[in-house]
Amino acid sequence: MPVRSNIVGIDSPEALEKALRAAYYLADDGIATASYLALALGKPLLLEGAPGVGKTEAAKAIAAVLGRKLIRLQCYEGIDASAALYEWNYPRQMLAIRQAGEESIDIYGEAFLIERPMLAALRAPDATVLLIDEIDRADQEFEAFLLEFLSDFQISIPERGTLRAAEHPVVVLTSNRTRDLHEALRRRCVYHWIDYPTAEHEARIVMMRASSVAEQTARAVVAAVGKLRREPLSKAPGIAEAVDWAEAATLLHKGGAGWPDAFKRSIGVALKDEEDLHYISPRLDALIAEAAA
């Protein structure tokens, strides 16, 4: 196992945490440790958590810290190798054959290969971060296919042979856990379950992310969101929703609305499900008053 204890000057989880903060991502201990270990051990980082806890943001911040380009592969049901790996530019090959006439040409040359995210990351492992987003949406066959890629970091293209990464590329996988991932995939990766942050931590995130939110507003929003997450809602508000809510309420307040009212009117950015809104509305006033206290 190739172990590099020092990556671009980062030699401990604490150092990484600091660097991530400079990239506008407030990491807690757990995620900083997991990310550092993934980088140092040269293993993929698998982040799981409820929607809206900042999994994708974490990958972006890691890319920013490393000063690398982020290549994102968004998974969907039915994704296959030609969308993830490579494809031949068939129309171009056909044209080339016709143009060549009697001469012989190599139609499997570089010019005819279309790079997809995984191949692109494999070819420039020192300049990219590969984000495989929402892997739980892809089919199981794709998961199995990914397994091969993630263990050896090599790809074989029948017409050209096997391509192997010069060094282990940085790979971040995210999953919303709408379905359980295969054990083998979890095993290959450094794993971190991102939980909702503590109120203290979340308030700091809201203040950093939102442009002009007062500390008191941030705390009130975080408290209210924390209460909402304990309700049996179909879609609990994530961190992004908390940020939006704080920002929206601040905006309404500047427009002349009173405080509890500003929160209440902007509830739509935090709860985006009719049934949830309906369920919570009788107690909304009390909930907001309690949070603002």
Partner: protein, 372 residues
């Protein structure tokens, strides 16, 4: 490696921690152990907290077992100190270790070990004989239409087709080479559909008594009509009957199943039975991407929370979970039992299981609703 001569003493405590996790049902691969040791070295380790985090990141305990992981960690690395601090909690750890995969493993009767084990139990275990009668229309309809109308999934591979959404450029290119680079015909491709696995879980408890026989016949017809069907029965225990139902002749298959299942017409502990189902990796993986159909009235004697957790877990693995209950005969059915209310938000369909016709119609409609 030369390290191995000097390392063992220091490393032994970590490796035995991994062993402890395995005993307690965490799946840890050797490569994860290697990563764990490398991670500890990387982090210093300057405190126990570092070791705990290294373990969390590399050994990847599932989030819902985090608490168990933490307890085992304390037990192993803090030893008696931790036990004194939290004496109440530790009992559970000890019990877990003793139980292991031992005989108290709940309600699990595989085809191999059922009858001897069952005889020793105090539960009301009853064998049952099925009356024999003619095939109903519903079952005939099932076998006729199964191939065309049961749910399918989109396969990963593509096949040539006369028409399809993808151009078969590879084939077109090869053919054009044969014709001096002239494209005469554009080949097409489409995804090859495959039958989706169907997992049928049948409640055979006392409250379902009137329906059990019909349901077993239906399960037999389904097993015969489609590939990829798995059938389990549950009441106070869980029994896999897939293999017996593969017997062609129905009387023979049902009689064999009747001997195999030992908890006919008994009580219902659906939650525990489903938990037991999910706890066996081989069984649990039957649910992956499958159409899961539970035929049960949801009259649960056990803990509704266990049932809810099991169904939530099942729904994360399955493609679609249908709960068919004989109680839901009216169209605007609202569940009344505590168990059904608890699971309502995890199941995709809550429909009628009051007659074979209803069950067959539901099964055959699954394929057309949300295709692939």
């Amino acid at each position: 490696m030369s390290d191995e001569l000097t390392l063992p003493r220091a490393a032994r405590v970590f490796i035995s921690f991994v062993a402890l996790l395995r005993v307690n049902g965490f799946a840890v691969a050797p490569e994860q152990t290697t990563a764990f040791l490398a991670a500890i070295e990387l982090l210093g380790p300057r405190s126990l907290e570092h070791i705990r985090k290294a373990g969390l990141a590399t050994l990847a305990p599932p989030p819902e077992r985090r608490a168990t992981y933490d307890r085992l960690f304390d037990l192993h690395f803090r030893g008696s100190e931790a036990i004194e601090q939290a004496d109440g909690e530790d009992e559970e750890v000890v019990r877990l270790q003793e139980e292991g995969r031992g005989e108290d493993e709940p309600l699990l009767a595989d085809e191999a070990n059922e009858s001897g084990l069952a005889a020793a139990r105090t539960e009301a275990l009853v064998e049952r004989r099925f009356a024999q009668d003619t095939t109903t229309d519903a079952l005939r309809r099932l076998s006729h239409e199964a191939a065309a109308r049961l749910p399918r999934r989109r396969g990963h591979r593509r096949r040539r087709a006369r028409r399809g959404p993808f151009a078969d450029l590879r084939r077109t290119l090869r053919e054009s080479v044969r014709n001096d680079g002239e494209v005469l015909r554009l080949g097409r491709l489409r995804r090859r559909p495959r039958p989706r696995r169907i997992l049928l879980l049948i409640d055979v408890s006392g409250s379902m008594k009137a329906r059990t026989e019909e349901n077993m016949k239906l399960a037999h017809a389904l097993t015969q009509a489609a590939r990829n069907v798995e059938v389990f029965t549950f009441g106070t225990r869980l029994t896999r009957v897939t293999r017996t139902l593969r017997l062609k002749r129905r009387e023979q298959a049902l009689n064999a199943a009747a001997h195999l299942v030992s908890d006919w017409d008994g009580g219902t502990r659906i939650g525990d039975a489903l938990q037991a189902f999910l706890a066996v990796p081989r069984f649990g993986s039957y649910a992956r991407g499958a159409t899961v159909v539970v035929i049960s009235d949801g009259l649960e004697r056990g803990d509704p929370a266990a049932l809810r957790d099991a169904i939530a877990k099942l729904s994360r693995r399955a493609w679609r979970v249908s709960w068919l209950t004989p109680l839901a005969t009216a169209p605007g059915f609202q569940p009344q039992t505590e168990a059904l209310i608890a699971i309502r938000r995890f199941v995709d369909d809550l429909a009628s299981g009051g007659s074979s016709e209803a069950v067959v119609s539901h099964l055959l409609s699954l394929g057309s609703g949300r295709a692939a």
